[in-house]
């Protein structure tokens, strides 16, 4: 085991995850140029993604809908086996473990799923949903102690503990989202992956939840990987930010660097789209064919929308390079120095 990984809580190396969506044998058959051929349709959701997260970090992942953020999260905590690449947790390789071998790691990491509806079992009461991970990971705990914990955590996320006997469908959308956050906080994890944890919440409850997550970090030294499309939240809380586009990592920088000096052309486009209240500025319109992970563009995946793209960009995949310590970018234009640094 090399020592660099042991000081990281999570490391992923060259992760690749593809989904075959060809369907049944008959659905795969197609008629082309007078011949019957068998066609495979593959979604290339993750392509060679690498990064590490240090203990105590708040690591954010941003990028447009469908770019592979949730797939990255699920692969990183062992819910999806990668097609290739490696995942290390606390210095130990976990991507090839059996569910049984994975058990001790499960309690140390928790995931808040993007879809609070699908992730809460409709036939269990909120109390059962919240107690389940406690009884599972701490079999010795008494019923009373678990009950106290349920009440305390419900209180923290702003859902009346008196409602613990109710079923998920009896709650509003935002209340359900808070219940799925509560579930992740029930056991004492070291690492939480939160996929859009606050998107269905109004600003005042967003603030309450974010403050709660930050408090848990200070008190218990938690580490977070947070996926959100809300860039003002990202700017607010992250230590480092990873920007993804069509399954590839474009840029990885400390948050203040990212927002003050975005480097990659896609990062710049993304940040320019942050709406400002009252400003009537039109957003950048999406033009052309929507990029698809089913037919990945050749070369740099962003070349079709990039103002700096040239011939090399269309053929050669840019490798992640580090122009400065702590910063990673994957862009030919930046490497060649033909893209001006963004003014502050």
């Amino acid at each position: 085991m090399n020592s660099r990984q042991t000081e990281k809580i999570l490391s992923v190396r060259n992760l690749v995850k593809h989904f075959d969506i060809s369907g049944g044998f008959l659905e795969q058959l197609a008629f082309e140029k007078g011949k019957i051929i068998r066609r495979h349709t593959v979604v290339k959701a993750l392509n060679n993604v690498s990064f590490s997260i240090a203990p105590g970090e708040i690591f954010s992942v941003v990028g447009e809908s469908g770019c592979g953020k949730s797939t990255l999260a699920r692969t990183a905590i062992g819910l999806y086996p990668p097609d290739s690449g490696e995942v290390f947790f606390g210095g130990e390789r976990i991507d090839h473990l059996s569910p049984r071998q994975m058990l001790p790691f499960r309690a140390r990491m928790q995931m808040i799923f993007q879809d609070p509806y699908a992730s809460l079992n409709p036939r269990m009461t909120v109390r059962q949903i919240l107690e389940e991970p406690v009884f599972f990971h701490r079999p010795g705990i008494s019923r009373a102690e678990a009950g106290d914990r349920v009440a305390a955590v419900m209180e923290q996320v702003g859902v009346d503990p008196q409602w613990a006997g109710r079923y998920p469908h009896e709650f509003s959308g935002g209340q359900r989202q808070r219940i799925s956050i509560a579930r992740a906080l029930m056991v004492d994890p070291e690492f939480i992956v939160a996929d859009e944890p606050i998107s269905a919440l109004d600003v005042s409850i967003q603030a309450q939840i974010l403050n709660l997550l930050m408090e848990a970090r200070e008190k218990r030294g938690l580490t977070y990987m947070i996926i959100t499309h809300d860039l003002s939240v990202v700017a607010h809380i992250s230590s480092r930010v990873a920007v993804m586009y069509l399954g590839s990592l474009c840029e990885l920088s400390p948050a203040d660097q990212m927002f003050d000096h975005p480097r990659h052309p896609y990062t710049r486009a993304l940040l320019s789209a942050i709406p400002r209240l009252g400003s009537k500025k039109k957003h950048i319109r999406l033009t052309g064919e929507v990029p698809t992970p089913i037919r990945l563009p050749s070369g740099c995946v962003f070349h079709g929308r990039c103002p700096y793209a040239d011939a090399r960009c269309k053929t050669e995949i840019p490798l992640p390079l580090s122009p400065e310590p702590g910063i990673i970018t994957a862009c030919h234009g930046l490497e060649e120095g033909r893209i001006p640094l963004s003014p502050e």
Binding site: I21, T41, E170, S172, Q175, H283, T292
Partner: protein, 336 residues
Amino acid sequence: MSHLLEVKNLEVRFALRFGDLTAIDGVSFTLDKGERLGLVGESGAGKSVTGFAIINLISKPGYISRGHILFDGENLAELPGEKMRDIRGNRISMIFQDPMMTLNPVLTIGTQMCETLMAHRNISRKQAEAVALEKLRKVYISSPEQRLSQYPHEFSGGMRQRIVIAIALLTDPALIIADEPTTALDVTIQAEIMDLLLELCASEDMGLILITHDLGVVSRVTEKIAVMYAGKIVESGPTENIITDPLHPYTKGLIRALPDPERRGQGERLQQIPGTMPTLTALPRGCSFHPRCEIKGGICEKEIPESRAVKGQKREVACHMAENPSPPPVYEREGA
């Protein structure tokens, strides 16, 4: 002129073990053809339940206990099930906050879209597929032809949300109720989807009820707003007026809590409205907002404030202390 939709004194209750819970308490508003209404308020305020009630989708322990919902002259609250099914998902589409209320997990989205369309239109599967593809492109689903044979769980969260929007648009409805339609979407796609809805309101005279907690989106898309708190509309009127000059202390708090993009970082705390919304089963006496209110007077703890018109403006506010409200009965409802 008659309205496309008129909701009057709507009350929805849930019969629970320990007594009734009133989720919606006397909600009234109107919507004309092509008009865009924003329904805003904190989590649990009753926004989704209002939407469900309009399409008569309040199920078992819940029931509409009072009020009427006139759509094109018919009272939807009393419409027999069969006639309602003809309207729901056809002339009125709801984009549910939970995409899985629309999507069937064991059917491909191609099948779902075609079946929805063929249930309401006399067209072939081929024609239905063409319409489905057109709508999927409108919501920026990439490679739609290949995607038709995928199941809901094979899509990303934001893609599922967009597919549900595409399904709502299939039948070119006269009214769309969009419940947090873009929460999982990044700003660029969100803006495109909102433009699409705006365009349909303008060109097809579609009515839109946009339920959201995002005041930024509401101010861009809607022309009028109703602010809900604990099951009641506490303030309503033209969007412009409400955003720039809110009268109800709750609305004021909501607007103040918006993050200011100029002041990011450095652990800047957002301005929260102090306290939390009360549980509906334990509402305080008088104005339900009074425990959190900065300008409350003695009367607020005793009497429920009636909604009243604001002099010289087409807006209403339900607050004893808000500046400027005229005395109760002078308000004339347009077209009444």
